[in-house]
Protein backbone atom coordinates (compact mmCIF):
# COMPACT_ATOMS: atom_id res chain seq x y z
CA UNK A 1 0.00 0.00 0.00
CA UNK A 2 1.48 3.26 -1.08
CA UNK A 3 1.93 5.58 1.81
CA UNK A 4 1.20 8.70 -0.11
CA UNK A 5 -1.11 11.63 0.26
CA UNK A 6 -4.34 10.20 -1.07
CA UNK A 7 -6.21 13.01 0.57
CA UNK A 8 -4.79 15.57 -1.75
CA UNK A 9 -5.93 13.48 -4.64
CA UNK A 10 -9.46 13.84 -3.35
CA UNK A 11 -8.99 17.54 -3.77
CA UNK A 12 -8.37 17.05 -7.41
CA UNK A 13 -11.70 17.65 -8.82
CA UNK A 14 -13.21 20.48 -10.74
CA UNK A 15 -16.22 22.48 -9.80
CA UNK A 16 -19.61 21.06 -10.28
CA UNK A 17 -21.28 23.78 -12.24
CA UNK A 18 -24.68 24.38 -13.67
CA UNK A 19 -25.42 23.54 -17.28
CA UNK A 20 -25.49 27.24 -18.07
CA UNK A 21 -21.71 27.20 -18.07
CA UNK A 22 -20.90 25.59 -21.36
CA UNK A 23 -17.17 26.04 -21.02
CA UNK A 24 -16.95 24.06 -17.87
CA UNK A 25 -17.19 20.44 -17.00
CA UNK A 26 -20.68 19.17 -16.53
CA UNK A 27 -22.25 18.20 -13.27
CA UNK A 28 -22.04 14.48 -13.80
CA UNK A 29 -18.39 14.74 -12.87
CA UNK A 30 -17.66 13.16 -9.59
CA UNK A 31 -16.80 15.94 -7.24
CA UNK A 32 -16.54 16.00 -3.55
CA UNK A 33 -16.48 19.29 -1.73
CA UNK A 34 -13.36 20.33 0.06
CA UNK A 35 -13.92 20.31 3.79
CA UNK A 36 -12.10 22.82 5.85
CA UNK A 37 -12.37 23.79 9.47
CA UNK A 38 -12.64 27.30 10.76
CA UNK A 39 -10.36 27.80 13.74
CA UNK A 40 -11.53 31.29 14.54
CA UNK A 41 -14.17 33.76 13.44
CA UNK A 42 -13.78 37.52 13.90
CA UNK A 43 -16.57 39.25 15.76
CA UNK A 44 -17.89 41.12 12.73
CA UNK A 45 -17.77 38.00 10.59
CA UNK A 46 -19.60 36.10 13.31
CA UNK A 47 -22.55 38.46 13.06
CA UNK A 48 -22.80 37.86 9.33
CA UNK A 49 -22.98 34.15 9.98
CA UNK A 50 -26.14 34.48 11.98
CA UNK A 51 -28.37 34.34 8.93
CA UNK A 52 -28.94 31.45 6.57
CA UNK A 53 -27.82 33.36 3.55
CA UNK A 54 -24.46 34.91 4.18
CA UNK A 55 -23.95 36.55 0.79
CA UNK A 56 -21.98 35.92 -2.38
CA UNK A 57 -18.36 35.58 -3.30
CA UNK A 58 -16.90 38.97 -4.09
CA UNK A 59 -13.33 38.12 -5.02
CA UNK A 60 -10.96 35.19 -4.87
CA UNK A 61 -7.25 35.40 -4.18
CA UNK A 62 -4.53 32.95 -3.23
CA UNK A 63 -5.15 32.93 0.49
CA UNK A 64 -8.31 35.01 0.76
CA UNK A 65 -11.87 34.75 -0.45
CA UNK A 66 -13.96 37.86 0.17
CA UNK A 67 -17.70 37.51 0.61
CA UNK A 68 -20.09 40.36 0.05
CA UNK A 69 -22.77 40.06 2.68
CA UNK A 70 -26.41 40.89 2.41
CA UNK A 71 -25.67 44.12 4.27
CA UNK A 72 -23.20 45.10 1.53
CA UNK A 73 -20.27 44.56 3.80
CA UNK A 74 -17.31 42.28 3.36
CA UNK A 75 -16.08 39.31 5.31
CA UNK A 76 -13.10 37.16 4.40
CA UNK A 77 -12.37 33.46 4.43
CA UNK A 78 -8.64 33.15 4.87
CA UNK A 79 -5.73 30.80 5.42
CA UNK A 80 -4.07 30.74 8.82
CA UNK A 81 -1.10 32.80 7.60
CA UNK A 82 -3.36 35.80 7.05
CA UNK A 83 -4.21 35.73 10.73
CA UNK A 84 -7.11 36.77 12.88
CA UNK A 85 -9.09 39.90 12.16
CA UNK A 86 -12.54 41.32 12.80
CA UNK A 87 -13.84 40.27 9.42
CA UNK A 88 -11.75 37.11 9.05
CA UNK A 89 -12.85 33.51 9.17
CA UNK A 90 -9.56 31.69 9.63
CA UNK A 91 -9.39 28.18 8.20
CA UNK A 92 -6.95 25.30 8.04
CA UNK A 93 -6.42 25.71 4.31
CA UNK A 94 -3.04 24.05 3.66
CA UNK A 95 -0.30 26.59 3.14
CA UNK A 96 0.47 25.18 -0.28
CA UNK A 97 -3.12 25.35 -1.52
CA UNK A 98 -4.51 28.38 -3.25
CA UNK A 99 -8.12 29.39 -2.70
CA UNK A 100 -8.15 30.08 -6.39
CA UNK A 101 -7.56 26.44 -7.24
CA UNK A 102 -10.49 25.07 -5.27
CA UNK A 103 -13.09 26.09 -7.78
CA UNK A 104 -14.81 28.95 -5.99
CA UNK A 105 -15.95 31.62 -8.38
CA UNK A 106 -17.10 35.18 -8.04
CA UNK A 107 -20.83 35.45 -7.32
CA UNK A 108 -21.06 31.93 -5.92
CA UNK A 109 -23.69 31.80 -3.21
CA UNK A 110 -22.49 31.56 0.36
CA UNK A 111 -24.87 29.92 2.80
CA UNK A 112 -24.96 28.93 6.42
CA UNK A 113 -26.10 25.32 6.77
CA UNK A 114 -26.08 23.38 10.04
CA UNK A 115 -23.01 24.93 11.53
CA UNK A 116 -21.12 24.99 8.26
CA UNK A 117 -20.46 27.69 5.72
CA UNK A 118 -21.13 26.42 2.23
CA UNK A 119 -19.58 28.21 -0.73
CA UNK A 120 -20.83 27.56 -4.21
CA UNK A 121 -22.63 24.43 -5.17
CA UNK A 122 -20.79 21.70 -3.28
CA UNK A 123 -17.40 23.32 -3.66
CA UNK A 124 -16.18 24.36 -0.25
CA UNK A 125 -17.65 23.52 3.11
CA UNK A 126 -16.23 25.15 6.20
CA UNK A 127 -17.22 23.74 9.55
CA UNK A 128 -17.45 26.33 12.27
CA UNK A 129 -18.27 23.88 15.06
CA UNK A 130 -14.88 24.19 16.71
CA UNK A 131 -14.22 27.79 15.83
CA UNK A 132 -13.53 30.27 18.57
CA UNK A 133 -14.85 33.81 18.31
CA UNK A 134 -12.01 36.25 17.96
CA UNK A 135 -12.46 39.66 19.38
CA UNK A 136 -9.83 42.21 18.55
CA UNK A 137 -7.73 42.62 21.60
CA UNK A 138 -7.61 46.22 22.71
CA UNK A 139 -5.98 46.19 26.09
CA UNK A 140 -2.23 45.97 26.04
CA UNK A 141 -0.73 43.20 28.05
CA UNK A 142 2.50 43.96 29.80
CA UNK A 143 3.68 47.15 31.40
CA UNK A 144 4.08 50.42 29.60
CA UNK A 145 7.67 51.35 28.95
CA UNK A 146 9.27 54.67 29.71
CA UNK A 147 8.95 57.23 26.93
CA UNK A 148 12.53 56.95 25.78
CA UNK A 149 12.23 53.20 25.41
CA UNK A 150 9.10 53.64 23.35
CA UNK A 151 10.93 56.08 21.13
CA UNK A 152 13.69 53.53 20.74
CA UNK A 153 11.12 50.94 19.71
CA UNK A 154 9.72 53.29 17.11
CA UNK A 155 13.23 53.70 15.75
CA UNK A 156 13.55 49.94 15.57
CA UNK A 157 10.25 49.82 13.72
CA UNK A 158 11.58 52.36 11.26
CA UNK A 159 14.89 50.58 10.72
CA UNK A 160 13.29 47.23 10.16
CA UNK A 161 10.90 48.79 7.67
CA UNK A 162 13.69 50.42 5.73
CA UNK A 163 15.53 47.12 5.63
CA UNK A 164 12.72 44.69 4.93
CA UNK A 165 9.77 46.72 3.75
CA UNK A 166 8.43 47.37 0.30
CA UNK A 167 9.56 50.94 -0.03
CA UNK A 168 8.20 51.46 -3.51
CA UNK A 169 5.02 53.24 -2.59
CA UNK A 170 4.43 55.77 0.12
CA UNK A 171 6.50 53.96 2.64
CA UNK A 172 9.68 55.54 1.33
CA UNK A 173 8.61 58.50 3.40
CA UNK A 174 9.40 56.58 6.54
CA UNK A 175 13.08 56.91 5.89
CA UNK A 176 12.87 60.62 6.45
CA UNK A 177 10.14 60.99 8.96
CA UNK A 178 11.48 62.80 12.00
CA UNK A 179 9.86 65.52 13.97
CA UNK A 180 8.46 68.09 11.61
CA UNK A 181 10.71 67.03 8.78
CA UNK A 182 7.96 65.88 6.49
CA UNK A 183 7.96 69.31 4.85
CA UNK A 184 11.63 69.18 4.10
CA UNK A 185 11.25 66.22 1.85
CA UNK A 186 9.92 68.25 -1.00
CA UNK A 187 13.28 68.27 -2.75
CA UNK A 188 14.07 64.58 -2.37
CA UNK A 189 13.81 61.83 -4.91
CA UNK A 190 10.26 60.70 -4.44
CA UNK A 191 8.06 58.74 -6.76
CA UNK A 192 5.01 60.50 -8.12
CA UNK A 193 2.60 59.03 -5.62
CA UNK A 194 4.77 59.93 -2.70
CA UNK A 195 5.18 63.40 -4.13
CA UNK A 196 1.45 63.74 -4.48
CA UNK A 197 0.72 62.41 -1.08
CA UNK A 198 3.38 64.18 0.89
CA UNK A 199 1.82 67.62 1.28
CA UNK A 200 -1.54 66.19 2.22
CA UNK A 201 -0.03 63.79 4.69
CA UNK A 202 2.06 66.53 6.20
CA UNK A 203 -0.89 68.84 6.55
CA UNK A 204 -3.07 66.04 7.85
CA UNK A 205 -0.68 65.41 10.72
CA UNK A 206 -0.65 69.13 11.51
CA UNK A 207 -4.42 69.39 11.47
CA UNK A 208 -4.73 66.36 13.72
CA UNK A 209 -2.35 67.99 16.18
CA UNK A 210 -4.44 71.13 16.00
CA UNK A 211 -7.67 69.23 16.40
CA UNK A 212 -9.12 71.01 13.38
CA UNK A 213 -11.82 68.59 12.32
CA UNK A 214 -12.95 70.27 9.12
CA UNK A 215 -9.39 70.51 7.87
CA UNK A 216 -8.77 66.93 8.86
CA UNK A 217 -11.68 65.84 6.72
CA UNK A 218 -10.54 67.97 3.80
CA UNK A 219 -7.04 66.57 3.85
CA UNK A 220 -8.13 63.02 4.41
CA UNK A 221 -10.33 63.38 1.36
CA UNK A 222 -7.25 64.11 -0.73
CA UNK A 223 -5.65 60.93 0.53
CA UNK A 224 -8.42 58.36 0.55
CA UNK A 225 -8.19 56.09 -2.47
CA UNK A 226 -4.82 57.41 -3.52
CA UNK A 227 -2.14 55.10 -4.74
CA UNK A 228 -1.64 51.68 -6.25
CA UNK A 229 -2.95 48.50 -4.77
CA UNK A 230 -6.27 46.86 -4.17
CA UNK A 231 -6.19 48.67 -0.87
CA UNK A 232 -4.74 51.95 -2.14
CA UNK A 233 -1.44 52.92 -0.59
CA UNK A 234 -2.68 55.99 1.24
CA UNK A 235 -5.57 54.02 2.70
CA UNK A 236 -3.15 51.62 4.31
CA UNK A 237 -1.30 54.54 5.85
CA UNK A 238 -4.58 55.92 7.20
CA UNK A 239 -5.43 52.48 8.56
CA UNK A 240 -2.18 52.28 10.48
CA UNK A 241 -2.62 55.84 11.65
CA UNK A 242 -6.15 55.37 12.97
CA UNK A 243 -5.35 52.04 14.56
CA UNK A 244 -2.37 53.36 16.45
CA UNK A 245 -4.13 56.54 17.52
CA UNK A 246 -7.10 54.56 18.79
CA UNK A 247 -5.33 51.78 20.60
CA UNK A 248 -2.69 53.97 22.17
CA UNK A 249 -5.13 56.62 23.33
CA UNK A 250 -7.34 53.96 24.87
CA UNK A 251 -4.52 52.29 26.72
CA UNK A 252 -2.91 55.45 27.92
CA UNK A 253 -6.23 57.14 28.65
CA UNK A 254 -5.21 60.22 26.76
CA UNK A 255 -6.97 62.23 24.08
CA UNK A 256 -9.64 59.60 23.64
CA UNK A 257 -12.32 62.06 22.58
CA UNK A 258 -9.97 63.82 20.23
CA UNK A 259 -8.93 60.61 18.56
CA UNK A 260 -12.50 59.53 18.21
CA UNK A 261 -13.36 62.76 16.43
CA UNK A 262 -10.28 62.51 14.22
CA UNK A 263 -11.25 59.03 13.13
CA UNK A 264 -14.81 60.09 12.47
CA UNK A 265 -13.55 62.95 10.31
CA UNK A 266 -11.39 60.63 8.28
CA UNK A 267 -14.10 58.03 7.87
CA UNK A 268 -16.76 60.51 6.92
CA UNK A 269 -15.23 60.95 3.51
CA UNK A 270 -14.50 57.40 2.41
CA UNK A 271 -17.89 56.45 0.98
CA UNK A 272 -17.49 55.75 -2.74
CA UNK A 273 -14.01 57.17 -2.73
CA UNK A 274 -12.20 53.89 -2.50
CA UNK A 275 -12.56 50.14 -3.10
CA UNK A 276 -15.08 48.17 -1.08
CA UNK A 277 -12.36 46.14 0.56
CA UNK A 278 -10.44 49.20 1.66
CA UNK A 279 -13.63 50.83 2.92
CA UNK A 280 -14.31 47.82 5.10
CA UNK A 281 -10.80 47.86 6.57
CA UNK A 282 -10.87 51.61 7.21
CA UNK A 283 -14.20 51.47 9.01
CA UNK A 284 -12.93 48.81 11.33
CA UNK A 285 -9.67 50.63 11.92
CA UNK A 286 -11.55 53.72 12.97
CA UNK A 287 -13.20 51.58 15.62
CA UNK A 288 -9.83 50.24 16.73
CA UNK A 289 -10.55 46.87 15.16
CA UNK A 290 -7.71 45.62 13.06
CA UNK A 291 -6.04 42.32 12.24
CA UNK A 292 -3.97 40.63 14.87
CA UNK A 293 -0.50 41.42 13.56
CA UNK A 294 -1.27 45.12 13.59
CA UNK A 295 -2.51 45.15 17.17
CA UNK A 296 0.51 43.13 18.15
CA UNK A 297 2.91 45.65 16.67
CA UNK A 298 1.30 48.63 18.35
CA UNK A 299 1.23 46.79 21.64
CA UNK A 300 4.82 45.67 21.40
CA UNK A 301 6.00 49.16 20.58
CA UNK A 302 4.69 50.33 23.90
CA UNK A 303 5.44 47.38 26.12
CA UNK A 304 8.09 45.08 24.73
CA UNK A 305 11.78 44.75 23.97
CA UNK A 306 13.29 45.82 20.67
CA UNK A 307 13.72 42.28 19.34
CA UNK A 308 10.02 41.63 19.85
CA UNK A 309 9.23 44.86 18.08
CA UNK A 310 11.42 43.72 15.22
CA UNK A 311 9.52 40.43 14.87
CA UNK A 312 6.18 42.17 15.12
CA UNK A 313 7.18 44.70 12.48
CA UNK A 314 8.20 41.94 10.11
CA UNK A 315 4.82 40.29 10.52
CA UNK A 316 3.02 43.45 9.50
CA UNK A 317 5.44 44.06 6.65
CA UNK A 318 4.51 40.66 5.30
CA UNK A 319 0.90 41.71 4.76
CA UNK A 320 -0.02 42.03 1.11
CA UNK A 321 2.60 43.43 -1.22
CA UNK A 322 3.17 46.98 -0.06
CA UNK A 323 0.11 47.15 2.21
CA UNK A 324 1.97 46.10 5.30
CA UNK A 325 4.75 48.59 4.76
CA UNK A 326 2.29 51.41 4.25
CA UNK A 327 0.47 50.36 7.40
CA UNK A 328 3.69 50.52 9.39
CA UNK A 329 4.21 54.07 8.15
CA UNK A 330 0.77 54.93 9.47
CA UNK A 331 1.45 53.23 12.80
CA UNK A 332 4.71 55.08 13.05
CA UNK A 333 3.08 58.44 12.38
CA UNK A 334 0.24 57.85 14.82
CA UNK A 335 2.50 56.57 17.56
CA UNK A 336 4.93 59.43 17.20
CA UNK A 337 2.16 61.99 17.23
CA UNK A 338 0.72 60.78 20.51
CA UNK A 339 4.13 60.34 22.03
CA UNK A 340 5.05 63.89 21.15
CA UNK A 341 1.80 65.21 22.58
CA UNK A 342 2.38 63.33 25.77
CA UNK A 343 5.92 64.63 26.07
CA UNK A 344 4.68 68.16 25.55
CA UNK A 345 2.18 67.91 28.30
CA UNK A 346 4.83 66.36 30.46
CA UNK A 347 2.65 63.47 31.40
CA UNK A 348 4.43 60.73 33.25
CA UNK A 349 3.70 57.07 32.93
Amino acid sequence: MQSQPNGIKSQIRKTSRSNDDTDFCCSTMVTSPLHLEATSVGSTAARSLEQDRVGQVHSVFTRVVNVLTSGNRLISVVGADVGNGPINIVTNLPQSTSMASIGIRKNDEVLNVDGSIVLGRNVLIISTKNAKEWKPQRIFRGNLLAIQKIRDNLMTMKEVTCAYGCIGGLAQLIEYVEEGHLDKLAGQELNSFAQRTLPHLSVLMKTIRAGDYQDIKRNAQELVGLGPGLTPSADDVLLGLMASLTLISENLNIFEDLVSEVNKSIISCIQDRTTLISQEFLMHAAAGEVNEPIVALIEKALTARPNEVEEATKHVLAIGEASGTDMVLGIFLGSKLLLDEVSCIGKRF
Binding site: I8, Q11, I12, K14, F24, C25, T28, S98, S101
Partner: protein, 74 residues
Protein backbone atom coordinates in the same frame (compact mmCIF):
# COMPACT_ATOMS: atom_id res chain seq x y z
CA UNK B 1 17.29 2.80 -24.48
CA UNK B 2 17.46 6.16 -26.17
CA UNK B 3 14.21 7.42 -24.67
CA UNK B 4 15.51 7.09 -21.18
CA UNK B 5 18.58 8.93 -22.33
CA UNK B 6 16.58 12.04 -22.94
CA UNK B 7 15.47 12.26 -19.32
CA UNK B 8 18.20 11.19 -16.95
CA UNK B 9 20.90 13.75 -16.31
CA UNK B 10 19.24 16.22 -18.66
CA UNK B 11 17.27 19.33 -17.91
CA UNK B 12 13.75 18.52 -16.81
CA UNK B 13 11.12 19.92 -19.12
CA UNK B 14 7.84 19.15 -17.53
CA UNK B 15 4.26 19.30 -18.66
CA UNK B 16 2.06 19.47 -15.58
CA UNK B 17 -1.47 18.18 -15.91
CA UNK B 18 -3.67 18.65 -12.89
CA UNK B 19 -2.82 20.21 -9.53
CA UNK B 20 -1.14 23.56 -9.75
CA UNK B 21 0.64 23.12 -6.43
CA UNK B 22 3.47 21.25 -8.09
CA UNK B 23 4.37 23.95 -10.57
CA UNK B 24 6.12 26.38 -8.25
CA UNK B 25 8.16 23.72 -6.50
CA UNK B 26 9.33 22.34 -9.83
CA UNK B 27 10.28 25.75 -11.12
CA UNK B 28 12.12 26.56 -7.91
CA UNK B 29 14.29 23.53 -8.46
CA UNK B 30 15.20 24.54 -11.99
CA UNK B 31 12.74 22.60 -14.10
CA UNK B 32 10.91 24.23 -16.97
CA UNK B 33 7.20 23.77 -16.60
CA UNK B 34 4.20 24.19 -18.85
CA UNK B 35 0.91 23.83 -17.05
CA UNK B 36 -2.11 22.27 -18.67
CA UNK B 37 -5.40 23.64 -17.45
CA UNK B 38 -7.05 20.27 -17.56
CA UNK B 39 -10.78 19.73 -17.85
CA UNK B 40 -12.42 16.36 -18.10
CA UNK B 41 -12.96 15.58 -21.75
CA UNK B 42 -16.42 14.80 -23.11
CA UNK B 43 -17.86 17.05 -20.44
CA UNK B 44 -16.84 14.51 -17.85
CA UNK B 45 -19.28 11.96 -19.12
CA UNK B 46 -17.55 8.64 -18.62
CA UNK B 47 -19.73 6.76 -21.08
CA UNK B 48 -18.94 9.09 -23.95
CA UNK B 49 -15.33 8.98 -22.90
CA UNK B 50 -15.23 5.22 -23.25
CA UNK B 51 -16.59 5.53 -26.77
CA UNK B 52 -14.05 8.20 -27.61
CA UNK B 53 -11.28 6.01 -26.29
CA UNK B 54 -12.37 3.10 -28.42
CA UNK B 55 -12.38 5.32 -31.48
CA UNK B 56 -8.97 6.73 -30.71
CA UNK B 57 -7.51 3.33 -30.06
CA UNK B 58 -8.73 2.14 -33.41
CA UNK B 59 -7.12 5.10 -35.14
CA UNK B 60 -3.93 4.68 -33.15
CA UNK B 61 -3.45 1.04 -33.89
CA UNK B 62 -4.11 1.48 -37.58
CA UNK B 63 -1.59 4.32 -37.59
CA UNK B 64 0.94 2.07 -35.95
CA UNK B 65 0.32 -0.69 -38.41
CA UNK B 66 0.80 1.57 -41.35
CA UNK B 67 3.92 3.39 -40.29
CA UNK B 68 7.01 3.06 -38.20
CA UNK B 69 6.92 3.77 -34.49
CA UNK B 70 6.43 7.44 -33.72
CA UNK B 71 9.75 9.28 -33.84
CA UNK B 72 11.46 9.20 -30.52
CA UNK B 73 11.64 12.48 -28.71
CA UNK B 74 15.23 13.48 -28.39
Amino acid sequence: MSKKENLLNKKLKVINIGIETFIEDLKKQGAEVVHVDWRPPAGGDIEILKLLDKLEEGVDSSKRNHSKRPTKKQ
